[in-house]
Symmetry: C2
Subunit: 337 residues, 2 copies
């Protein structure tokens, strides 16, 4: 069943059928009705590949998890963002193509070439560790791209992320108002942009409150539980040890809590802890974990609209910082030192 069949059945030309299907206005109401009815009856659907070959757009958006040590589908933060993105971009009429990086990785990874191969209308790039240069190439091309947690700079690119400095400021302020003055920070890897933004926010906030920054109270982990555990052990060896700890991920907070308990101390009575991410387990841990929640819904939704505007040429490259929120539970205490 092709457009030719429909044209024949309706007694019109293929061009006319095509126009009707694409909502052109210069067609008589009578012809339109007849054709539409036949389309309805037959259940005719145009073929994607023929449409794409002939027209330019595909209404297809690529989803790229960038980085060699790459966050995959299961990443708890990004999956929520991508889900919200998918919903919104779906409303706008786009489907999603997920590149399978496997084969691809073995050869030279050329994201741009793959986008061109499928003639994607745009793509969303999820940040990972150890970003490939192929991402830069894509970014600098004229394919519309939106980065999540990664700063894209191309003329047809934009990015969106949580305001990580702000998040740290909120945490430090919360600790400060609860009376804490000795506040440590367990960061992500030293070369992680996100972790560094959080660190800078932490330092800036301490300065603002006139609290001097102690280098030995800044530890580095890898966002995982074990690294938080080890970082906390280092912190506890110091005299005095910090009475409040802010970690760049919830998992590291869980690790820190484990270390604190092992030392015979209590959370939050001896050491207060605030994490980052608000993963599901925060509600069920002992104690329940105070943490920073990123507005994943909003990030995903905004990414969809920003990409759409870029595609429709309605806008220049844009970038947005989204407000974080502190979710207060048991782990952060509230006593005066």
């Amino acid at each position: 069943m092709t457009i030719k069949d429909i044209a024949r059945m309706a007694g019109v030309s293929r061009a006319t059928v095509s126009k009707i299907l694409n909502n052109y206005t210069d067609v008589s109401e009578k012809t339109r009705r007849k054709v539409l009815q036949i389309v309805e009856e037959t259940g005719y659907q145009p073929a994607f590949s023929a449409q794409t070959l002939s027209a330019k757009r595909t209404n297809l958006i690529g989803v790229i998890y960038a980085g060699n040590i790459n966050a995959d589908l299961t990443h708890p933060f990004f999956v929520e963002v991508v889900n919200a993105f998918k919903k919104q971009i779906g409303e706008l009429g786009y489907d999603l193509l997920f590149f399978s990086n496997e084969k691809f990785r073995n050869s030279q990874e050329n994201y741009l070439a793959r986008c061109q191969y499928f003639r994607l209308d745009g793509c969303i790039i999820i940040n990972g560790m150890d970003i490939e240069t192929a991402i830069t190439e894509l970014d600098q091309s004229d394919l519309p791209c939106i980065g999540v947690d990664i700063q894209l700079t191309g003329k047809k690119s934009g990015f969106i992320m949580t305001d990580n400095r702000k998040a740290s400021a909120i945490v430090v302020e919360h600790f400060y108002l609860a009376g804490y003055r000795s506040i440590a920070y367990i960061s992500g890897q030293r070369d992680c942009d996100i972790g560094n933004a959080r660190k800078e926010g932490y330092i800036q906030a301490l300065n603002q409150f006139g609290i001097s920054v102690r280098e030995e109270w800044i530890q580095y982990g890898d966002y995982r539980e074990q690294s938080g555990y080890e970082a906390m052990k280092h912190l506890l060896k110091q005299r005095p040890y910090p009475r409040a700890v802010y970690t760049a991920s919830d998992l590291m907070a869980f690790g820190a809590i484990r270390a604190i308990k092992e030392a015979g101390l209590s959370v939050p009575d001896d050491v207060a802890v605030i994490g980052f991410d608000d993963i599901h387990a925060c509600q069920y841990s002992d104690p329940t974990l105070t943490t920073i929640r990123q507005n994943k819904e909003k990030i995903g939704k905004l990414a969809a609209f920003m990409l759409f505007d870029l595609i429709k040429n309605q806008v220049q490259s844009s970038n947005v910082m989204v407000e974080p929120e502190l979710v207060i539970r048991q782990s952060c205490g509230g006593r005066v030192e």
Copy 2:
């Protein structure tokens, strides 16, 4: 840059270039080298739409989250399965197309038509609640389909799921060996196939051990925390109340634990609990939760191979049950009644 350009530059015909790119063998080594070199130099890539229009296959697999109340990308179990599936099917040379259901849903949802529109090579169908008839239509078509947690019956379809009866048998046996004789079950919705399989397994296992089944010890929830809490409150009102509880999800187990604690009782000393899913929070809850872990890796990977075989016509419709595993933590106790 098209195949025409490459042909011109190499001084051969388009047909020859096409053959070389598609690994035909009836081409002289010399021509092959020359063409390949030019392809390399120019970075030429064929256009997906032209290839698809002309050939039949797309190397594209559709991912469908079925059901009106539909599990989305963020579902903790399915996301792991889909991730493993993506990796394996990627190795086999396929990319993934995620249908955006939004627009689509408003009209009559026609999965089959959409698959045909994109000329997908096959698809994977993730079970949800309240499955549409459009899924049946897809299942019965001759497009290769693999269902996860959903029994497909078409001649080109297969399915894969955890052996849910077996899982229940393992749980009941574990309780039995720990000395428990009064074992309750908190199920999913009454019309949920998965929940029912687990229920039947539970009943069968009780029978096997000569323990009589008490209808009032079977409660129904909706897999969420609150429903587990309420179901447990009902169970605790009974005299005697059960000393061991098996729930069809971890979240319901957390709800049950909350109810038990609220009643001034202890887990596992007064009531032992075993959940289902092994979500991340099980490791951090108080007490940590004993639970059934499904082999998501294996399910995803098998789904990929099964679908591949179906596509390549190497196999008839197949279906597989995957072994579950009991992960023992603190909540299940181990004392004699």
